[in-house]
């Protein structure tokens, strides 16, 4: 195989494990006096079994949640960490930095720092001299070349650092979360540089939380989660998988929030609950088709909402109400009450419950919340109204878009068209 057709980076079966001692021993005394005790460790598998390849000229995006192993992977690629097992082969020079402006000294001038940082990034004195003006011009700091770095604004420092970094001679450039800094004009300029580097065939590895930059530049992406690659390939697909993980997170967060939510305590926030208190809602339970309490529901499957209340005074014409809204944009999805459904109710007093059942929930994927009310005389008297009620999440086996799932069938009849023309 010729050199050019070989991947510039191959990562095979890389694992990295950190042993986090339960008690850190950093001093001699700690080592001496506790060597009899067995050391106990928390094992943390930062990377489990990572394999991928990067071709020459690739613009690879690495994405994942915090703590997914991104930084560890980058450090291994850059040669700062060595893997516990597996191997990393790099055929070319990796710009050996993970952070912009490593070694910058506030006490030195911009000029001195360019030489210092440039050398660290692998440029010779001659290289730096040749590119000196270019570096300053790109950073827009010509006027401050002999000013001390400590007097620069953080934006100026980043501009200088970035400007040096992109001129480091290397076959692979690793950029970690650098796009988060700088004003939008400078960011645009950086994007311009990315385009240029991409055209020049520099291989770039970009780590970012920002989906936009990955979608815009990368031709490949990797999604890391808990130290595993769970998706790799075209950025669109990978980002979709990432979105799903994030939704999963959101769902878990909602569930947790629901567990912690006690309806009785909702009065703490008068803005989200009000009423005259003649009757109060005590609890709201969300049940699935098996009668199990949950906050995760599925499209076209049953959902049941059970509400218990206590009427402190007799209520002659009670009206039980419920509405469902989408969390992300407060979209008004559904609203019903016993009055509108023309259910004649006897007067209530004391404790009781009511429930509403959706045999086939028509909502598509998303997060929702409900409003629950207890009124009388239609809606003239509000006894208790919860404006921000329990949240729940809907999942769906299909990847349909929109809010509602309409029952539907498709019919495609190929024969029709030729006949039309005939």
């Amino acid at each position: 195989m010729s050199k050019a057709s070989q991947p510039i980076i191959s990562v095979r079966g890389v694992q990295k494990r950190f042993l986090l001692p339960h008690i850190q021993r950093n001093t001699l005394r700690e080592h001496l006096f506790s060597f009899m005790k067995k050391r106990t460790y928390e094992e943390y598998n930062a990377l489990r079994d990572i394999s991928f390849e990067v071709e020459r000229g690739d613009f690879l995006g690495i994405i994942g949640r915090n703590g997914c192993g991104k930084s560890t992977l980058l450090k291994i690629l850059a040669g700062v960490y060595s893997p516990d097992s597996g191997e990393v082969t790099v055929r070319g020079r990796v710009a050996p930095f993970l952070e912009l402006g490593v070694g910058f000294q506030g006490e030195l001038t911009a000029r001195e720092n360019i030489y210092l940082n440039g050398t660290m990034l692998g440029m010779s004195r001659k290289d730096i001299e040749e590119r000196f003006d270019e570096i300053l011009a790109f950073a827009e700091l010509e006027r401050f070349v002999d000013a001390k770095l400590k007097n620069f604004s953080s934006g100026m420092v980043v501009r200088l650092a970035f400007s040096i970094a992109i001129r480091a001679k290397s076959d692979v450039l690793i950029l970690d979360e650098v796009l988060a800094v700088g004003d939008s004009a400078f960011q645009e300029k950086c994007f311009g540089v990315f385009e240029r580097l991409k055209e020049e065939g520099t291989t770039i590895i970009l780590v970012s939380h920002g989906k936009d930059s990955i979608e815009r530049f990368c031709n490949k992406a990797i999604l890391l989660d808990h130290g595993n690659i769970i998706a790799q390939g075209a950025p669109k697909q990978v980002l979709y998988a990432y979105k799903e993980i994030l939704q999963e997170d959101e769902r878990e967060a909602t569930e947790k929030a629901n567990e912690e939510r006690v309806v009785e305590n909702a009065q703490v926030n008068p803005g989200t609950r009000w009423g005259d208190g003649k009757a109060v809602i005590d609890a709201v339970r969300l049940l699935d088709g098996n009668g199990k309490e949950t906050t995760l529901f599925h499209t076209d499957e049953p959902m049941r909402i059970e509400v218990s209340y206590t009427a402190k005074e007799p209520i002659a014409e009670p009206n039980f109400a419920i509405a469902i809204h989408r969390t992300s944009d407060n979209l008004y999805c559904f609203d019903s009450n016993t009055y509108l459904n023309q259910i004649k109710l006897a007067p209530i007093t004391g404790a009781g419950t009511w429930s509403i059942t959706f045999p086939t929930l028509p909502l598509l994927r998303g997060g929702f919340y409900m409003k629950i009310g207890l009124f009388s005389d239609y809606c003239d008297q509000t006894h208790d109204f919860i404006d921000q009620g329990p949240e729940f999440t809907v999942d769906s086996p299909e990847h349909l878009h929109g809010t509602m799932r309409f029952a539907h069938t498709w019919e495609i009849n190929k024969k029709t068209y030729p006949e039309l023309h005939a």
Partner: protein, 255 residues
């Protein structure tokens, strides 16, 4: 080959930056590098010349040589030991070979030494003492051996320090003791003959004595007295290198 040149360039830049930063912002700037050992010399000379001045010839020259060598040794070992921790941002963010870092800090100390040696030359000339070329070369060779010991020591301790953080405190105390166990202030002849052997167990003693013998008395120490120093130097370097190479692989995680 090209990468070695680049590594040396990093070493040079790091040590020069360090040196620049050390005297940065002070009124007298680099003059402090000259002034500090001179002032220490003045204090010690005023105190001790009554004690030792009559015992040996050229006590002032001996004292200044001792102080300059000692401050180099103390400064270089301290800086070398702390180098990796101090430059943690480079260790954890860049994949430059790690040996550059302790070596750069030693190089910084060597720059101070170079300046101080300039003063020493002036003092020798003022006293009408001009050592022969042979003696100078011999002294230089001994200095190189001292360098090798310091490099070995720094490689070993810089990589151990993140694991045993109190090495720094221990070395500070040891340095203090070592200064009195080495003939820096006093001439070795001030020690009763029967105890002198103990002082020669400290490898710094022969270094200091041999260099003085060469520069002041223009006499050459016997080869069999220098050979053990060479052995010690190489052994230190060897141990330092092995330990450094083994532990540096995981050093980024320790910092």
């Amino acid at each position: 080959m090209q990468s070695l040149r680049h590594h040396l360039e990093i070493l040079r830049t790091l040590s020069l930056t360090d040196f620049k930063l050390r005297y940065h912002g002070s009124l007298l700037g680099y003059i402090w590098a000259l002034l500090k050992p001179l002032l220490i010399f003045c204090v010690l000379y005023l105190v001790f010349q009554f004690m030792f001045g009559s015992q040996v010839e050229y006590y002032a020259l001996r004292l200044l040589t001792g102080i300059i060598l000692w401050s180099f040794f103390a400064e270089a070992t301290n800086a070398g030991m702390n180098s990796l921790m101090q430059r943690a941002n480079i260790v954890t963010k860049l994949s430059v070979p790690r040996w550059i870092i302790p070596l750069a800090s030693i190089a910084t100390s060597a720059l101070s030494l170079l300046i101080n040696l300039g003063i020493l030359v002036l003092f020798f000339m003022g006293n009408g003492k001009i050592p022969s070329v042979g003696a100078l070369l011999y002294a230089l060779a001994l200095l190189v051996l001292l360098f090798v010991i310091i490099i070995g020591f720094s490689l070993l301790t810089s990589v151990l320090l993140p694991r045993f953080r109190d090495l720094g405190q221990i070395w500070e105390v040891l340095l203090n003791a070592l200064m009195y166990a080495t003939p820096v202030i006093y001439p070795i002849t001030a020690i009763p003959e029967s105890y002198r052997g103990w002082f020669y167990l400290n490898p710094l003693t022969p270094f200091f004595e041999h260099i003085r013998l060469l520069l002041i008395e223009n006499k050459y120490p016997a080869m069999q007295e220098v050979m053990p120093l060479g052995t010690i130097a190489l052994a230190t370097l060897f141990v330092g290198w092995i330990v450094f190479n083994t532990l540096q692989r995981t050093i980024a995680e320790q910092l």
